[in-house]
């Protein structure tokens, strides 16, 4: 069957009334939480994971996809109307978008972001549907050694390749890997690092860690910061519709942003931010009036927003086809799959095609809903921005603990939440990236399984890891991902890399 037949079957799942309702709830919740300043897509998904516990797998994943896309849309509204740095994927949008809003052109800025997100989301999701079967066919030939090499590559790109310090990226990764050791060893049943505490035998929950690092760590960091920046919400004046000139200046950046964002998201390189920065500099160079950049150029909103959403869809390529999360958000989505006993990867396409293709089709549905939800109703979302910060963060903590209590109402789990929250604050304080910790926790045990499986097949011969050309190439790329940035930083080109830092998503 070709992709279109499969996709059509997927629509048969996605368009069932109940699933449409789940998608609508998902995009609404996702947008609402995404709009709130200080909450990125990763935290949005982690906070709302417990809401989906009681649903059936297909409905739950459809709601999840809606939350994911909705969080991406919502973030752009925040960065345009409220100049909030700190959320890495929207820094670039804030550069030009906030300037446009200050100049009274907030409406067109929001419109070009929403329509650009729609165009990019549509094209990128179609691209996902087209290339996924090919990758799955390819991935079916992968053995444990290839998977292990692929995971090593993902580890290195997520932690070491971008950001402003190889050391701090690697340290964050290995903290996550160390946490991944806790619990019962899957192959031998031996308890590791549990120190006799029964609560630790099941290991550390990805959602507990993610919620603690993102929600509590962020709250502590904001509260402790002395520089209380004056946050001013720019009112949306005039029409939200774009003029003819806006359209003609926007459509090319949308397409270019999509073309840049999707491959970057699809590679095991992590982070939607990299694409947004690249798109911004491309638009700046191609612009007819580059002098407008920095003063509110619409191209600088259209391109990066499209790149942002395209790479969000791109991230789903390795996640669905290989089971490889390359960003914190994807890691939490993987945890979402696992709570239903589903393991993304080539076998999921073979065994549960109705779930995979239903999910992909529902992404297209969610994308359309978001366009409708965001353009005419933008005024409603803007009101969420006016929630004062103290109520906002108090509410965030209430919901963060609610999710943990709902999943496991134990004092010990809350203690871990608190401890990891403090860890998240310390990591932020010293400039450590957060995403590698989360990716390390979920991917570490998987990498160990693949390594031990490979060595069991070869009866302990470690050269099995470099027997296939694919594995060798992947491992060499992983080495490059660590060494090249080290050389670049030593030669004083580190600024480029820290500009590409994959911080949050």
């Amino acid at each position: 069957m070709d992709s279109f037949t499969l996709l059509a079957n997927g629509f048969a799942v996605a368009l069932q009334p109940l699933n449409l309702l789940y998608a609508l709830i998902g995009v609404t919740l996702g947008t609402a939480v995404g709009v709130l300043p200080g909450i990125g897509p990763a935290l949005t998904v982690a906070l709302l994971l417990p809401v989906t516990y009681k649903l059936d797998p297909a409905g739950s994943l459809i709601m999840f996809a809606g939350i994911y896309y909705g969080g991406m849309y919502g973030g752009s509204t925040t960065s345009i109307l409220l100049n909030t740095p700190g959320e890495s994927a929207s820094i670039v949008t804030a550069l030009e978008g906030n300037k446009m809003a200050r100049a009274g052109r907030g409406g067109p800025a929001l419109a070009t972001a929403a329509i650009g997100s729609f165009v990019a989301g549509f094209i990128a999701t179609m691209a996902l549907a087209l290339i996924a079967p090919t990758i799955v066919k390819f991935a079916l030939s992968f053995g444990p050694a290839e998977y292990f090499a692929l995971m090593i590559l993902a580890f290195m790109t997520v932690s070491a390749a971008f950001g402003d310090s190889t050391l701090r990226g690697l340290t964050a990764l290995f903290l996550g890997l160390a946490m991944g050791l806790v619990g019962i060893d899957l192959q031998t049943g031996q308890a590791r690092l549990a120190f006799g505490i029964p609560d630790l035998l099941d290991g550390i929950e990805v959602t507990t860690l993610a919620v603690a690092l993102f929600a509590i760590g962020e709250t502590l960091a904001v509260a402790a910061s002395r520089t209380t920046a004056e946050e001013k919400i720019e009112p949306v004046k005039g029409s939200v519709w774009m003029s003819r000139e806006d359209w003609s200046r926007s459509w090319k950046p949308w397409l270019r942003g999509t073309a840049i964002g999707f491959p970057i998201g699809a590679m095991p390189a992590g982070g939607a931010e990299i694409g947004t920065f690249l798109s911004y500099s491309v638009e700046k160079q191609l612009a007819k009036r580059p002098e407008e950049f920095g003063k509110g150029a619409i191209e600088g909103v259209a391109g990066p927003e499209a790149a942002n959403n395209a790479s969000a869809a791109g991230t789903l390529v390795p996640l669905l086809t290989l089971g490889l999360p390359t960003s914190a958000t994807a890691a939490i989505m993987l945890a979402g799959f696992q709570q239903f006993g589903l393991q993304p990867g080539p076998l999921l396409f073979a065994n549960n095609p109705q779930i995979v293709w239903g999910l992909i089709a529902s992404l297209l549905v969610a994308n359309f809903m978001l366009l409708v939800l965001n353009l005419p109703l933008v005024g409603l979302w803007v009101r969420l921005l006016s929630i004062p910060r103290h109520w906002l963060y108090a509410g965030i903590l209430v919901f963060a603990t609610l999710g943990t209590i709902g999943a496991n109402p134990s004092t010990f789990e809350l203690g871990m939440l608190l401890a990891f929250g403090v860890l998240g604050y310390v990591l932020r304080l010293f400039g450590y990236p957060i995403a590698p910790v989360v990716v390390g926790l979920i991917l570490g045990p998987m990498a160990e399984q693949q390594l031990r499986r490979a060595l069991a097949i070869s009866q302990g011969d470690p050269t099995v890891l470099v027997h296939s050309p694919i594995a060798v190439i992947l491992l060499l790329l992983a080495v490059c991902a660590v060494v090249v940035p080290l050389i670049m930083r030593a030669r004083g080109k580190g600024k480029v890399l820290s500009a590409l830092a994959a911080n949050e998503d």
Binding site: L170, Q187, T219, A223, G395, F430
Partner: protein
């Protein structure tokens, strides 16, 4: 967020970063100790101990590297931090954790809510605690009754 370009003036050894290096080394030592004293279950050729040892070794190398950067003062400068808000918020979380099974979800979470608002400089507590408890109670009704989430009940929740 707290990253700032390193300044050009001469740097002193960064004590806090040295502490981080020490903590990393301690974590590595704990992993090695815990793995070495664990018993049973190593029937396979590469047992459950190999991966922990590898991670511990890497953490140890990272600890040395961190200490090296700390002495050279390579860590980014940090903003001055306020301690008060941290104490309030951590205290709120601790209070919720300890009171959850005694006082129930609404009261415990209401205290967390008020303590967080206080951390952001908003009071007075006699006003924010009742607001927090009412809000948490509403949440409890929605999630425990509506969505069947198992949230601990206390005296307030047993009223309905």
């Amino acid at each position: 967020m707290t990253q700032q370009p390193p300044s050009t003036e001469t740097r002193r050894p960064d004590r806090a970063a040295l502490v981080i290096a020490a903590v990393l080394a301690i974590i590595a030592a704990v992993i090695v100790y815990s793995t070495a004293t664990a018993r049973g279950g190593s029937a396979t050729r590469i047992g459950p101990g190999a991966f922990p040892y590898a991670i511990a070794a890497c953490l140890f190398v990272l600890a040395i590297w961190t200490a090296f950067e700390a002495v050279r003062g390579d860590f980014p400068e940090r903003e001055e931090q306020q301690i008060g808000p941290i104490v309030w918020i951590v205290g709120g979380l601790a209070a919720q954790m300890l009171l959850l099974h005694i006082a129930g979800f609404a009261i415990a979470t209401g205290l967390l809510f008020a303590a967080t608002a206080r951390g952001f400089g908003r009071g007075p507590l006699w006003l924010t605690i009742p607001i927090g408890i009412v809000l948490s109670f509403v949440i409890w009704v929605i999630f425990a009754k509506g969505l069947q989430l198992s949230l601990p009940a206390g005296p307030l929740e047993r009223l309905i």
